[in-house]
């Protein structure tokens, strides 16, 4: 089968449900899925935040300090560190009054080279068409 693309689409804010966090941890698990796959197979995930889902990518989340729970910010940074693509919908940021300076733009503090991509909804729609399977959260 070769490489299968998976698009994880997060449509809702963090902390009301566990599911936005699980979108990230499931996508990250693509790194270790080889043990269950045939030689040469792989999965290539992209996590895209759309609608109110962009609130997951607001920076400076203090979830660990205040509730002892890993923040979605931290999961996004871990994703960038393993070169997993993180997309955030620009139109939705603008609608909610969020600027790039308010968002997790990179994980340079962890040594990651990949940066968050701020994309238009049209880019996400195009990726929905190209991807093997869709996973909405």
């Amino acid at each position: 089968m070769g490489a299968v693309k998976l698009l994880f689409v997060v449509q809702r804010p963090p902390y009301k449900s566990e599911n936005p966090r699980l979108a990230l941890t499931h996508a990250i698990a693509s790194q270790t899925a080889e043990i269950y796959m045939d030689e040469g197979d792989s999965v290539v995930p992209i996590v895209a935040f759309v609608g109110d889902g962009v609130l997951n990518a607001v920076k400076n989340q203090q979830a660990m300090k205040l509730y002892g729970v890993t923040s979605t910010e931290s999961h996004i940074k871990n994703s960038l560190l393993i070169d997993m693509q993180i997309w955030v919908c620009k139109e939705d940021m603008e609608r909610l009054g969020l600027k790039e300076a308010d968002m997790v733009t990179d994980a340079e503090d962890l040594g990651a080279e990949l940066k968050t991509k701020f994309v238009s909804y049209a880019d996400i729609q195009k990726e929905m068409e190209n991807t093997g399977h869709l996973l909405f959260f």
Binding site: Q11, G51, D52, H133
Partner: protein, 99 residues
Amino acid sequence: MKLAVFLSDWRRTEDTYERLKADKLGVILVGNGIYHAVIKENGKESPILSKAGASFYVLSDDLETRGFTAANVNSKVKVIGYGDVVDLIMNDYEKTAWL
């Protein structure tokens, strides 16, 4: 793409549905999504049903669980069973999106 979208909520908390595009689009109303097929709020049919070019389906089990029958269903929407849902997923569409 040929996409089967599942809607399971009455009051929706996403706006993905309005933006989604597909060459062939099927909308399957399940769970509380069935209210879109039967309720006319303030006399108007659900805006869900105005998506251009889409085919609409409602799961009869979920309809009847909530006290409605095929007689209550908007004429745009086809009443189907679990077996039909399987056929739509496996034969008629290539991808699914549970919003």
